[in-house]
């Protein structure tokens, strides 16, 4: 049995292929194209190539993410909330809370001991605290998005940011640059702002250990460190598996269920 999960988000598309024995055969991440279906086709073909397979080799594909309903080659679509919970729990069965910070939303997800979704809270109305927020700040600071985390860790005197709005924060950062503030201190202040916002959401859903972080922003160590300080505990970080593909992984696991069910 070969299954696949395809996760088309607002900023990146991810796909993952899994074999009979729950081994991850291949996965890939790319920036989305304007059309969700084209993004899905492209990421799937890249992943298939890595696995040395054809689309017809896949027994079942589940789609997830923002563009999930438009992916015609997927036989089923499942919300990214369930997929993130399931994927994180598969990687580490002790996980009960998943923080997912994606390109355009923040999610706090609670799962039970079987990895089933128990409760969640999400903010997708405002870009504050999302990947888009970090992207805007990186652009204003003229640093690479994925260097922002390292830069934040090197900040010794984090600046205070009063704005919540992404666009207003970008303006605050411009002013701080003019004032001569250190870029690292700005990055550290931004990381703290993001973590504080996420923590508020997390408290609403309840924090149960172990806590994992997924999504693109999980790669920003500055944000992760601030979140650990706020929850006063360790956050499980996936090192062997890219935190950005946890949704696609969960989708592939749901695809396995479908195949198994059809064999019964």
């Amino acid at each position: 049995m070969i299954v696949a999960g395809c996760d088309v988000g607002s900023l990146t598309a991810k796909a993952l292929i899994m074999d009979e024995d729950e081994n991850i055969v291949a996965y890939d991440v790319m920036t989305v194209l304007p059309n969700p279906l084209r993004s899905a086709e492209e990421i799937m073909s890249r992943t298939l190539k890595k696995a040395n397979m054809k689309l017809s080799d896949i027994d079942f594909c589940v789609s997830t993410g923002y563009g999930r309903e438009k992916i015609t080659f997927a036989k089923k679509d499942i919300s990214e909330i369930s997929c993130h919970g399931r994927g994180a729990h598969w990687i580490n069965p002790k996980i009960r809370t998943v923080i997912d910070i994606g390109g355009q939303d923040l999610k706090a997800i609670r799962v039970n001991r079987d990895g089933e979704l128990m409760d969640f809270i999400m903010n997708d109305k405002c870009a504050a605290g999302t990947g888009r927020f970090l992207e805007g700040i990186a652009k204003t600071l003229k640093v690479e998005l994925y260097d922002l985390g390292e830069l934040a860790l090197s900040g010794t005197n984090p600046v205070t940011i009063n704005s919540v709005c992404t666009i207003f924060t970008q303006f605050d950062v411009m002013c701080l640059i003019v004032e001569g503030a250190d870029k690292a201190d700005i990055a550290a202040g931004v990381a703290r702002t993001m973590a504080t916002r996420m923590h508020k959401l997390l408290r609403k859903v309840g924090i149960k250990k172990e806590v994992a972080i997924t999504g693109g922003v999980a790669k920003n160590q500055g944000v992760v460190k601030c979140l650990e300080e706020l929850i006063r505990g360790k956050i499980v970080q996936f090192t062997e598996i890219d935190p950005q593909i946890v949704g696609a992984l969960g989708a592939a696991l749901f695809a396995r269920d479908e195949v198994k069910r059809s064999r019964m």
Partner: protein, 258 residues
């Protein structure tokens, strides 16, 4: 002479009036995230324009986000007080003022002497301010000063659903990919901003006459949309709606000086 300075997040404004309350000089420059430099520059400019020196200024009141950066002895005043004072002078029958700046929108109830009765403001979210229009015009590659003309030419109604300026930018890109015109998209954006401002204003009891000020009051299409959503006529603060807070600050400085 009395000076009013308004250092905003978008623009820095100054108005110089004489003891009769007549405007002797005024100017508007971009703040460009550097309130100190903008404060210095605007002061130089109005002094030059009126051919006077620092010593000729009897009193200076400053307002706005960067109000601390006026490089002359001054007193800081709240934005709504300055606006209410200015509104009363420009249009004595004004009872409701709507001010839309780069990073805020504000609705103020004003009494017959130019005092603030009550106010509501949104300074937390870009979707309710001029930055919203800036972000979208940039995404569409339409010069900011042409946004109003573009919107007025629109033949189509588009509703922009995103409540966040950043998300609206993505929505706009999707609309462009769907073949929607820049004109229709900008009309939709301005209407969305107008709806937000009217919602804010309706939290006050709106009484006539209504005055509109701030940089965005220069956007005719937006003002039309505000009128349509309010189902009421509005007046644009003269001589320049962007100067109203600075003018009010100068008037308050004059009152103090007398």
């Amino acid at each position: 002479m009395f000076l009013g300075c308004d250092i905003g997040t978008g623009y820095t404004k100054a108005v110089l009036i004489d003891k009769e309350g007549t405007i002797r000089a005024s100017d508007i420059i971009a703040t460009e995230a550097d309130p100190k430099n903008a404060g210095d520059e605007i002061l130089k400019r109005v002094l030059n324009a009126a051919s006077i020196g620092l010593n000729d200024i009897n009193a200076c009141f400053s307002t706005g986000w960067g109000r601390a950066y006026v490089n002359i002895e001054h007193r800081e005043k709240g934005m709504m007080n300055c606006l209410a004072k200015g509104a009363n002078s420009v249009l004595p029958s004004c009872r409701t003022l709507l001010d839309i700046g780069a990073q805020h929108s504000m609705a103020i109830s004003v009494d017959d002497r130019g005092n603030v009765v009550e106010f509501r403001q949104n300074d937390r979210c870009a979707a309710g301010s001029g930055r919203f229009v800036e972000v979208i015009s940039e995404a569409l590659h339409v010069p900011l000063e042409e946004v109003s003309d573009y919107a007025m030419r629109s033949q189509e109604n588009i509703t922009v659903t995103a409540q966040c300026a950043v998300f609206a930018e993505s929505e706009v890109i999707a609309l462009v990919n769907d073949g929607k015109s820049q004109e229709a998209i900008l009309a939709g954006i301005l209407n969305s901003l107008a709806r937000g401002i009217v919602t804010l204003a309706k939290r006050l009891s709106i009484q006539n006459d209504i005055l509109v000020s701030g940089g965005l009051a220069k956007n005719k299409a937006l003002v039309n949309d505000i009128e349509m959503n309010l189902e009421n006529r509005v007046n644009i603060a003269s001589p320049d709606p962007q100067l109203l807070a600075a003018f009010g600050a100068a008037l308050l400085a004059k009152e103090e000086g007398e």
